[in-house]
């Protein structure tokens, strides 16, 4: 460390914008450049996604073929099964959806899209990633400690999660909780940066309504996160003390209350789903506007709708507790609010459809992903309304119907949305175009199996199949041949989908090595990130930050030769 630091000092004045600091791998870990931090988040997120996918593979094999010797894992014990489903959920939400959609794209896009040279607090940004990396390491370590990883579901309801005699994972559950808490700290630090940067670092001339919607969405998501995470951290501290110090906050025998945890968890839990949803919607809108060559229909409408969604998202969380013995009057209020929140969501869908209407659509790979997001998310939203009706939910709760519902929301968000963003901004990130044919093969190879995985799960859920069960052979009503066949269809589709991801990684590799050079603006898009080199140099616009003269979606202006009008062009 000391040595590298002095080495950097000796050529201090060489270039004002050159990057200085430790060399080698530390250079990456110690960078304060928002693009580098975005890459760190992106690659860590992808790596964690692979771990999560591996877990899904293992426990789906066990569900569909009980007792099978899973290739690459071996026999799955009940404890391992619980630990796998728990950590699969935890990883996919907190270590994939959040870091990739919010942190990676937020870090990459916000400064570039608003015409800033970096985040407002670059060092806090770096700290955010380091804490995040630490949290990921703690989580991975927790799988291997004596007793195994935590198996009390990603929602970690006490008393199961609080008492070591019940969950049998003394150390695993504490480390799991610690990892989640660290991860929240990382995103608190990141969120402060996003909000402040958007407020204070915009390019000259950029007014509130000139900000690309994806930036707005990420920032609104950060605000939601900031305002909702506190109670959960409070609850997590109490749970941690219950686990490690033997306090009795959630222990009814000692005057505590287990439902209290659900209260605090879901207060965060529901806004959290909007925290990941909003960036994905923003990405979709931006991609669709570019490839429909049309102005976004109702920019302000979209923005206000999003704000309304954000406000409402604080009013719906008890729909996760309809079965927890909450007051039926409260259940009714939350049924109504839950149904209400689907109104703004539907409005967002109509805005997207109206944007598409009459556009000159180019079906590139990112556009396909964006359209697929809309189509698939719609199914997730509609099934959410079933669950939101508290009467229906008494039956549906904790069945595979719920599971299929939230996979139809989370998968479009975390996977489809990410692929839309990744394929759209890949030229900007790496300076080369992705192969479109391979991209389309990967697209269809992901979308078709995705539906074949989860549609059977809706059917199983309606058939009464409960979640989180190790071996359905132990439940005669759920062990019929038809039910097992549906499970096996889903599992086989999962295998197919996983195999098709190889195409994606292969595509990334060849495109990164030999792809066609992208140039500054391969998609002929308007927003500011396309006005600098690909990949953008340190400081983003070394020759001077851009000015902004108009909104981000001026496509197809009748008086212009070209059908786009970059934000930074005076006329």
């Amino acid at each position: 460390m000391a040595h590298t630091a002095t080495a950097a000092d000796t050529h201090h004045d060489a270039h004002a914008h050159e990057h200085h600091g430790p060399q080698g791998i530390l250079k990456y870990l110690w960078s304060t450049d928002h693009k580098m931090i975005a890459m760190q988040y992106l690659f860590t997120g992808i790596a964690m996604g692979l771990i999560g996918a591996y877990m899904a593979y293992v426990f789906r094999m066990q569900t569909a073929f009980p007792g099978v010797n899973v290739p690459g894992f071996g026999q799955v014990s009940p404890g391992e099964y619980n630990s796998l489903i728990t950590n699969h959920g935890t990883i996919m939400i907190f270590w994939v959806a959040m870091p990739v959609l919010v942190a990676a794209f937020g870090n990459f896009l916000i400064p570039l899209m608003i015409g800033a040279d970096d985040m407002v607090f670059p060092r806090i940004n770096r700290l955010s990633y380091q804490v995040f990396l630490l949290s990921a390491i703690v989580l991975i370590v927790s799988f291997f400690v004596p007793g195994g990883g935590f198996g009390g579901a990603w929602t970690a309801y006490p008393p199961l999660s609080a008492v070591a005699e019940y969950n049998q994972t003394n150390l695993g559950s504490s480390l799991w909780l610690l990892a989640v808490a660290l991860e929240f700290v990382a995103f608190l630090l990141g969120g402060i940066n996003f909000i402040t940067t958007l407020m204070n670092s915009r390019a000259p001339g950029m007014r509130a309504y000139d900000i690309p919607l994806v930036c707005w969405m990420i920032v609104i998501a950060s605000i939601l996160f900031m305002l909702s995470v506190g109670p959960l951290i409070a609850g997590a501290v109490m749970l941690f003390f219950d686990q490690t110090l033997g306090t009795g906050f959630y222990d009814p025998a000692r005057g505590g209350d287990p439902v209290l945890w659900q209260h605090l968890f879901w207060f965060f839990g529901h806004p959290e789903v909007y925290v990941v949803l909003l960036p994905a919607i923003g990405i979709t809108i931006d991609v669709i506007a570019t490839f429909a060559r049309k102005k976004v229909f109702g920019y302000k409408l979209m923005l206000y709708t999003t704000v309304a969604t954000g406000v409402l998202s604080f009013f719906v969380w008890a729909h996760h507790q309809f079965i927890a013995g909450i007051d039926p009057r409260m259940a009714n209020v939350f049924t109504i609010t839950t149904l209400l929140i689907s109104v703004p969501i539907a409005e967002l869908c109509f805005v997207i459809i109206a944007t598409l209407y009459g556009g000159s659509i180019r079906l590139t790979t990112p556009m396909l992903w964006a359209l697929a997001f809309m189509a698939e998310f719609l199914i997730g939203g509609v099934t959410g309304i079933f669950l939101g009706a508290s009467g229906a939910d008494i039956y549906f709760h904790d069945t595979y119907f719920v599971l299929a519902h939230f996979h139809y929301t989370f998968f479009p968000i975390a996977i489809i949305g990410t692929f839309a963003a990744f394929t759209y901004w890949f030229p900007k990130m790496f300076g080369r175009m992705m192969n479109d044919t391979l991209g389309k093969i990967h697209f269809w190879g992901t979308i078709i199996p995705f539906n074949i995985i989860f549609i059977p799960l809706f059917v199983l859920g309606i058939g009464g199949e409960h979640r989180r069960i190790y071996n359905y052979e132990h439940f005669p009503e759920l062990a019929g041949e038809g039910m097992f066949m549906l499970r096996q269809i889903a599992t086989v589709a999962l295998l197919v989908m996983l195999i098709f991801q190889v195409v994606f990684f292969y595509n990334c590799y060849v495109s990164w090595k030999k792809g066609e050079k992208a140039g500054k603006n391969p998609w002929k898009a308007n927003t500011l990130e396309w006005t600098t080199e690909s990949p953008p140099p340190h400081g983003n616009w070394p020759e001077g930050l851009p000015n902004v003269y108009r909104g981000p979606y001026e496509y197809g202006h009748p008086d212009r030769k070209e059908d786009y009008w970059p934000q930074n062009q005076p006329s």
Binding site: F121, G230, V237, M238, H263, L264, Y299, H557
Partner: protein, 200 residues
């Protein structure tokens, strides 16, 4: 701007200029952080309210658990509030003439330090009387809530100390003082709420 043909009627815009931020970045970042912190304490307060309601009011504090020293803590609370007021004075002093803020700022830190110290001695006494985190949820919440507040107070005092050191070197900027002070106001103002919630 609405969609359709009217959208193409671009309005005339003034030449772009870089505007000064509405709120300086440091202060804004701190405010966002404080919002998250407020929610954190709101979570603790909610938890406390619910668990306390569990006992239907009658058994709070539970049998055999000591009563909290309400009166002594009232004195500490007063010290903390005065510290906040003195910090406000130092802010006005700083705006007039930076070096004149030295004494009020130091006084504010000392008062805050007294608060933390007095609370610490109170803890020692209560531990001696058998109130621990494990002895009851009553004790658990007491140490949890008061303890997290104490941690915040210590952190905020360290930040104020840093500001004071910079002030002595003549390096302190207005934004820095505002940022650090905002956090101290948060620590000061959240305390009476916690006091009412936990002690009364």
């Amino acid at each position: 701007m609405s969609a359709g043909s009217v959208a193409y009627q671009m309005e005339q815009r003034p030449e772009p200029v870089r505007r000064a931020p509405l709120v300086s970045s440091g202060l804004l970042g701190m405010l966002i952080f404080i919002f998250a912190e407020v929610m954190f304490f709101a979570g603790l307060i909610s938890a406390h309210t619910i668990v306390r309601a569990q006992t239907a009011g009658a058994l709070w504090p539970p049998y055999g658990q000591p009563r909290l020293p309400v009166e002594q803590t009232a004195v500490n609370t007063a010290a903390l509030l005065v510290s906040g007021i003195v910090l406000l004075l130092s802010w006005f002093a700083f705006r007039r003439e930076p070096s004149s803020a030295r004494i009020p700022l130091a006084l504010s830190i000392l008062l805050g330090g007294f608060f933390v110290y007095a609370q610490g001695t109170e803890w020692v006494a209560l531990l001696g009387e058998g109130l621990t985190m494990q002895s009851s949820t009553y004790g658990g919440f007491f140490y949890l809530i008061v303890g997290t507040h104490a941690l915040h107070a210590v952190g905020a005092l360290a930040a104020l100390g840093w500001a004071w050191a910079r002030l002595n070197k003549g390096l302190l900027t207005e934004t820095q003082l505002a940022t650090v002070a905002a956090f101290w106001y948060f620590v000061v103002l959240v305390w009476p709420v916690l006091y009412i919630q936990v002690y009364l």
